[in-house]
């Protein structure tokens, strides 16, 4: 079965650079979520989109932005990178059918800022 695809798997950037993370949800999933997981921490919700519109916003820094495109893939844009942005970034998708819809996660993008 198709899963959530994230690219790249690994990314190394220097401070103050920009990065773009991509997420391709499971076909026919209408909702995309972005999570950030620091070392030894639980995933922290950043932002979500439903039908290409932002549906919820969590602890996403102002330096970050995201959008969902007409083909439902999503991109997380990160600017003025800081050392503390080094983390595993997960994308997840679901079908919005009430609170019982599970999220399906991608394998994540590991961002290292040096």
């Amino acid at each position: 079965a198709a899963g959530v695809i994230q690219s790249p798997r690994h990314l190394i950037k220097e401070k103050r650079e920009t990065a773009t993370l991509k997420c391709y949800p499971i076909p026919r999933h209408d909702t995309v979520y972005w999570y950030q997981q620091g070392p030894g921490q639980d995933p922290q919700f950043l932002i979500s989109f439903y039908e290409k519109m932002q549906s919820d916003k969590g602890s996403i820094p102002d330096r970050f932005s995201a959008q969902q495109f007409s083909d439902y893939h999503s991109e997380l844009n990160m600017s003025s990178l800081e050392l503390g942005d080094s983390a595993l970034y997960f994308c997840a998708s679901s079908v919005l059918q009430g609170a019982g819809s599970p999220l399906h996660f991608g394998n994540g993008t590991r961002l290292t800022v040096t």
Binding site: D56, L96, G98, G100, L103
Partner: protein, 115 residues
């Protein structure tokens, strides 16, 4: 607001012995609850979910969890641990805000399995 408490940050068992990972939740209404597993440097994989059907939920890899409303618990169990079960486990409750779902994660329980 919903919240999730995983009572143990680390659990260590011997291979072949039972596994119990504890989770308590708080919710103002009947919640949807999930257990996810995360192997090192991997994504989160859904183990099982409870969505107000049967209170005993069976998941993948021999795991199951029982929803106990009176105890506000959703503990994860497995009769016999395997070395490949060593991973981080997250108990998750969904919160529906403004018509959209948000996952609330517990802090995670790291399961170690010894030979």
């Amino acid at each position: 607001a919903q919240s999730v408490t995983q009572l143990d940050s680390h659990v260590s068992v011997s291979e072949g012995t039972p596994v119990l990972l504890r989770c308590n939740y708080s919710s103002s209404y009947s919640p949807s609850l999930f257990w996810y597993v995360q192997h090192p440097n991997k994504g989160l994989q859904l183990l099982l979910k409870y969505t107000s059907a049967a209170t005993l939920v069976k998941g993948i890899n021999g795991f199951e969890a029982e929803f106990k409303k009176s105890e506000t618990s959703f503990h994860l169990t497995k009769p016999s641990a395997h070395m490949s079960d060593a991973a981080e486990y997250f108990c998750v409750v969904t919160e529906r805000t403004g018509g959209y779902n948000k996952l609330i994660f517990g802090a995670g329980t790291r399961l170690a399995v010894h030979p």
